[in-house]
Symmetry: C2
Subunit: 364 residues, 2 copies
Amino acid sequence: MPIERRDLLLAAASLAVASAAGRALAADRPAGYAIVGLGTYGLGVIAPQFANCRHSRLTALVSGDPAKARAAAARYGVPERSIYSYETFDQIAGNPDVDIVYVCLPNSMHAEYTIRAAKAGKHVMCEKPMAVSVAEAEAMIAACKAADRKLMIGYRCHFEPYNLEAMRLARAGAAGKIRYLRSEHGFIQSDPSKWRLKRALSGGGSLMDMGVYSLQAARYMTGEEPIEVAARESTDRSDPRFAEVEDMIEWLLKFPSGAIASCLSMYSANQNHVLLMGDKGRIELEPATRYDGNRMWTGRDGRAQEITPPPGPAPTQFAGQLDHMAQSIRTGAEPIVSGEEGLRDMKIIEAIYLSAREGRAVRL
Amino acid sequence: MPIERRDLLLAAASLAVASAAGRALAADRPAGYAIVGLGTYGLGVIAPQFANCRHSRLTALVSGDPAKARAAAARYGVPERSIYSYETFDQIAGNPDVDIVYVCLPNSMHAEYTIRAAKAGKHVMCEKPMAVSVAEAEAMIAACKAADRKLMIGYRCHFEPYNLEAMRLARAGAAGKIRYLRSEHGFIQSDPSKWRLKRALSGGGSLMDMGVYSLQAARYMTGEEPIEVAARESTDRSDPRFAEVEDMIEWLLKFPSGAIASCLSMYSANQNHVLLMGDKGRIELEPATRYDGNRMWTGRDGRAQEITPPPGPAPTQFAGQLDHMAQSIRTGAEPIVSGEEGLRDMKIIEAIYLSAREGRAVRL
C-alpha cells in the first residue's frame, strides 16, 4: 500500500468512532501503555519511543525495583500512582490511564503477565518469543479472548521500512518464483550472567532470542507456512555461557511451494542477514533486522542495486509497532502480528527443538 | 607458505631428478596432457590454459567428433597422430608425448576413462565429481595404484588465489574459533538438453555439479572432516529440466570441533558464496569460486575490509592445477587434491543423497 493511502487510512481510523466492545479507546486521546519489566529493552529501547508515537503514550510502569521505577517515571512523566510492583500489578485494573500492558519480561514470565493483564481488563503487547511453549501461548490467546482484549506480539520488523519493502518486493515478484531463503542472526553473547542464558527464564538459547528473527523472516519473506523442519544444534557445553541453553542451532524449513529456508541463530558469532533467492533474482538485507542501519540490495547474481525503501508507517519501527496496537484497538481490527502469529512461531520453535533433539525431520 | 618460498620449491622440484618409478618425467620437458572430451570445459576452458603453464603442454586430444578434434588440434598444435577416438583411446599407451590424461567427460564416464588411462600407463587428472559412486571412485584409485600412476581431481579452487588466501586466513585464526560456514552455489540451468540433466550421464543434479564447490569449501575452509550430514532436497519434478535430477539440495554438516556448515546447490537461481564465521570475525567470498572476478572480505559483523590476495602459484587457477600435477609426477609427491580427496567428497555426496531420501541424519 502506498504510504499516502496508508496515512489516510490511519487518519480515518483515528477519527472513526471506536467499534470495539467494552473499554474502547476514545478517538481523541492516545492509548496509554504500561511497560512491565524495566530492563534493557523495556526501559532502554521502548520507553523513549513514545516520543515518536502519534497514538500512544507511556502512562504506567511495573518493576521490582522501586528506585529504578521512580527515576523512569520522573523521566517520562508517569505519575507516581501509576508505578506498580509485581505484587501490586493486578491493581492496574483500576487505572483508567492504562489501555495496554507491554510485557517486556524474560520469556518465562510472558504467559503469567499476559494472562494477568488480560484479567485486569487490559490489552496486551507481548515481546517475542511470546512464551516458552505452545501450551503457554495457547493459554495466553485464550485469556485475551475470554477478556475480549487484543493480544499483539512485538514483532517490530513488520513496521521496519527495509523489511516492509522486502516483503512488498517479494510479493510483487521481484525475485521471480521464490526458491530459497537464508536467514541468519547471531551475536557474541559475552555476559554469562544474562537471563537469556538461564533456561528457567529464557526457555532456550539463541533460538529463543535472535532465532525468532530468522524464523520470522523465513515466513514473512516467502509468505508461506513451513510444512517440515529439520534442525541441528551445536553447543560447546563446557563453555560456561552455554551450560543451560544452546549456542548455535540451524534449521531447514520446507514450504508448500517447494521453496526452502535455511535459518540459523547463534550466540558465538555476529551475523544479521536475510537473502531471498528466486528464479529471476534476489532480495538481500544486511544488516537485515537491526534497530537502524539496515541495508538492502536486489540483483540477479549479487548486490547489483542498493534499495532505499519508502518511509515506514512511523518515524521508527518501534513507534510504528506501538501505534499499530493503539489503532487496532480503536478500529477493532486484529493486529497484523497477533497472538495467533506468535503461536505459529512457537509451534515451529517446538518442532525445531524436537528435530534437533531426535535427529530427524519433523512435519508441521 | 609465502609465494617466494613456494616458487623456490617449485623451481627446485623442476630441477630434481625424477624419483617416480617407471616412465618418470624428464626434468627438461613439460608434461604432455591428453584432453579426453572436447566439450565446454575440456575444449573451452582447459585447452587454452596450457598457454599459461610452465610445466605442462597439450599433446593429444580424444573426441568422438573427428572434425572438432582436427580443428582443435590445428589450433593448439597437436599433431594429427595424437588425435584419438573413444574406440582408439587405448592406443594412447604407445604415445610417448602423453604423460597425463585429463578426463573432462560427463561424470558417468570418469571411472571408465580413468581406469583405461591408468591401464595405458598414463597418470590421470579427472574432473570433479570424480565419479558417480563411492564404488567407482575406489576402483579408480585402485586402478591408478596398480599401474603406479598418479590420480588427481580437478579441484581448481585449491590453486585459486582468493580461496588459497581464505584457507590461509582461516588456519591463521583470522576468524577465531570457527563456528559456522555457509556455502551456496547455483545457477539457472536453462537448457533442458544438457548432459548434466540426464541422470545416466551426470549421476545427479546440482549436487553433482555446483554442489561439489559448496562441499569442498566446507571442508577446506574449516580444515575438518564432517561427522554427520542432514540433507533436504526440493525439486519441481513437473519442470522438464528436472525430470531426472534434483534442482535444489541443502545439507548441514557437523564437524568434530562443533562447527556447522550449511551448504546448498541449486539449478534454479544464481548464487556463488562462501562465508566462514568464527568467534572473532569472518571471512567472506562472493563470488567465491568463479573462474575470475572473485572477491573477499574480512570483518567482525560484515564486509569491513576487502582483501586482495597474493598471486597464486600460476597466472591462472587452471594453469596452477595443470602444473601441480606435472610437478607432482616429477617430484613423486602426491597431488594435494588426489583421488583420495575425491573419494572423501564422494562418500559425503552419497550420504547427502541418502539423508535427503530418508529424511534422517546420516553419520559419516
